[in-house]
Amino acid sequence: MMKLELTTDEQIFADEVRDFVARNLPADIAEKVRRGAILGRDDHMRWQQILASCNWHAFSWPKEHGGPGWSVTQRYLFENICGEMDCPLIQPFGPRMAGPVIFSFGTEDQKARFLPGIRESTDWWCQGYSEPHAGSDLATLSTRAEDDGEHYIINGQKIWTSYAHYANWMFCLVRTSNEDRPQKGITFLLIDMSTPGVRVDPIVGMDGRHSFNSVFFDDVRVPKENRIGEEGKGWTYAKFLLEHERIDNAALGVTKQALERVRQMASVPIDSATPLIEDPIFSSRLIAIEAQFASLEMTALRVLSAVNSGESPGPASSLLKIRGTEIAQQISELALEIAGQYAQVRPSMNGTYDCAPSGPEQTEMAMTNYLWKRAMSIYGGSNEVQKNIISKRILEM
């Protein structure tokens, strides 16, 4: 029977999560998250390892692969509570991306080698898909992998690789064949970032941050035991992953928290006028976004619930990605509206100002966040590509 209320067990679970976070989240990290500041590798790893201490880092994994085996409701509660309590977002590259591919398609040996490092957050993974000429049209990627007996020899370039400079492992799509359809010659490899011939060059974002990179491969030797599944079948594994990634990219826990933050921000008066929250013109925008978010959240729960009963998320994940990112972007626009001219001041890369901020404290990250949130409709398969998927696969147009 359908119902929204939590069961007693679920309530106990929620209390347990709240209690754990309250006791274990380092105050300095929570403060950075609260201010919307930029977190370093150490901040993320420190928190993720704390979560791993009770096996909550890979919280979406089933028991058979060493995860906690939580229900959809438990995962939803966990993410929301973490958002509410200013926990950093768990970096998805290991537990949400590399992990599921490895436990779904990897060998027993690969599972034993790689899953513990992901569960315990001792490894940092990055995603090597995009290339300068293969963005939306990923299947035309051209980084070559030549067969050399026990190894592949990799040559080529990846681009936009998030946090490659933090990573010690990359899951990567390479071309092993040019025959047949482009999708068919793609192979999924796990690459140790310390292998000779791997070079990481930073790309600075317009918000001044260094998060993405170019990664160059110059005769990089990768043992064949690091290949996931069969040669030439990489596209299938990658697509499996993309559908899961899109649900995560809706980032609902974070968005809910952002909505709450913008409401708080609007409640503090900046000028002599009443706070914006009491201004009907402003609050009608805020509430319209909240209404859309409430409906999105219900859609997400519907999809997750279907996935839980064994269905594939399929094209519904595209819908979540489109709306989830749009709503997050609109929230960041509201913050800009509140901050007005004070949003102009740019914090330095580590989230502190080179100078003291000029306006009220709550305005300090408004523009950085706004600029950064524009990326949400570009990565993880752009929103245009998601619409193409819906029109082709659901609507058969």
Binding site: L276, I281, G340, Q341, A343, V345, R346, R374
Partner: protein, 379 residues
């Protein structure tokens, strides 16, 4: 009615555009930001083009130009993403020419026109947002002159200014504007790093002692002059935003035609064609809003002028948002980088939307003006 540029204006537009294209390239701009290019050289070049002379009366060495002429400059500044505080200096100069005594004008305007004096006007404080009447900086009169105390936020160009214009509340409760030379005791200039690479600073005044003649025009009621300069600021911002949008839209179109995915140029996708059409429409709307702002900024009646300028700013904010966001989106990840101009246009357009009033703020200004005129009608 005539909405055509004159022959002279067309010639002037050409020189502005040529200067931006040849002498203020994205490369040169990047070098100015990195401090590799002597900043003063560019300032002098701009003065030689007559941009500073444009809006001032001939009696002070100016060219007696119109608000339309000024918007031609502003459009060029937007196109070139000019980071030098040209428009803020001009606005500050216009305030001096409106409020100042003959002597004050003589001291400030001719050297400004020649490029030898940079002026910065402080309209913001940390807590006033856009409310010119919410100024908390105080000016106390004593036997020796004035004592100023307060904090001004985000003063464009204050880092390198030769003179600052500081509005402050006098004991009468009115607002006067004070002309201050940096370097004076009690004055601190705290440079800020801004997202759009333009320059601004906070100015902190602690017991700054000034002679009597530091008060512009001995005028303790500068409120309506400040409102006028605020509206001039809107007009300049609309011109600048238009220039930035027009360039950004052209770059996006060129990119869509060049970038190939799925075996064909992006421009062959009908979904993207329509998006590009919407961008083009937005640029035309911005062009009309900028023109409307320039034509009405000279209207003396506050209500008529401010209402028109608020409408123009709301439109500019909307179109700047559309063009900026869409240009980034259509460029994909490339649009998110610091390396390409795209992100820089986007940042400047976003900053402009927050300068001289957000849309929400302007809706309220219009509502206030309309309520006041209804009240008057009743009387």
């Amino acid at each position: 009615m005539d909405l055509q540029f004159s022959t002279e204006q067309n010639l002037f537009r050409d020189t502005v555009e040529r200067f931006i294209r040849e002498d203020y390239t994205f490369d040169i701009r990047s070098r100015i930001i990195a401090n590799d290019e002597p900043y003063d050289d560019m300032w002098r070049k701009i003065a030689e083009l007559g941009w500073f002379a444009l809006p001032f009366p001939e009696s002070l060495g100016g060219l007696d130009g119109t608000a339309i002429d000024l918007n031609i400059v502003a459009e060029g500044i937007g196109r070139g993403l000019v980071i030098d505080p040209v428009l803020p200096t001009i606005l500050a100069g216009l305030l001096v020419s409106r409020l100042g005594t003959e002597q004050q004008k003589e001291i400030v305007i001719p050297p400004l026109i020649e490029g030898n004096l940079k002026l910065a006007l402080a309209l913001s404080e940390p807590g006033n947002r856009y409310d010119l009447n919410a100024i908390t900086t105080t000016a106390t009169h004593s036997a020796d002159g004035w004592i100023i105390d307060g904090h001004k936020a985000l003063v464009p160009g204050a880092n390198n200014a030769d003179r600052l214009l500081i509005p402050a509340r006098t004991e009468s409760g009115e607002i006067g504007v004070f002309l201050i030379k940096p370097g004076i005791a009690g004055l601190t200039i705290r440079p800020l790093g801004l997202h759009d690479s333009t320059t601004a600073a906070d100015v902190i005044l602690e017991q700054v002692a000034l002679p009597d003649d530091a008060l512009l025009g001995a005028e303790q009621n500068a409120r309506s002059a400040l409102e006028w300069v605020f509206d001039l600021g809107i007009a300049a911002a609309t011109g600048e935003a238009l220039g930035a949008m027009d360039s950004l839209s052209k770059m996006t179109l060129a990119f869509l035609k060049e970038r190939k995915q799925f075996g064909r140029p992006l421009s062959e996708n009908q979904a993207l064609q329509h998006r590009m059409v919407d961008l083009t429409i937005a640029v035309e709307e911005a062009r009309s809003s900028a023109l409307s702002a320039a034509l009405q900024v000279t209207v003396p009646d506050y209500a008529t002028r401010a209402r028109a300028l608020s409408l123009a700013k709301i439109e500019i904010n909307r179109t700047a948002r559309t063009v900026g966001q869409e240009a980034v989106q259509l460029h994909g990840a490339m649009g998110m980088t610091e390396e390409l101009p795209i992100g820089h246009y986007f940042k400047r357009l976003t900053a402009i939307s927050g300068l001289f009033g957000t849309s929400n703020w302007h809706v309220h200004r219009i509502t206030r003006i309309d309520a006041a005129s209804r009240d008057q009608g009743k009387k």
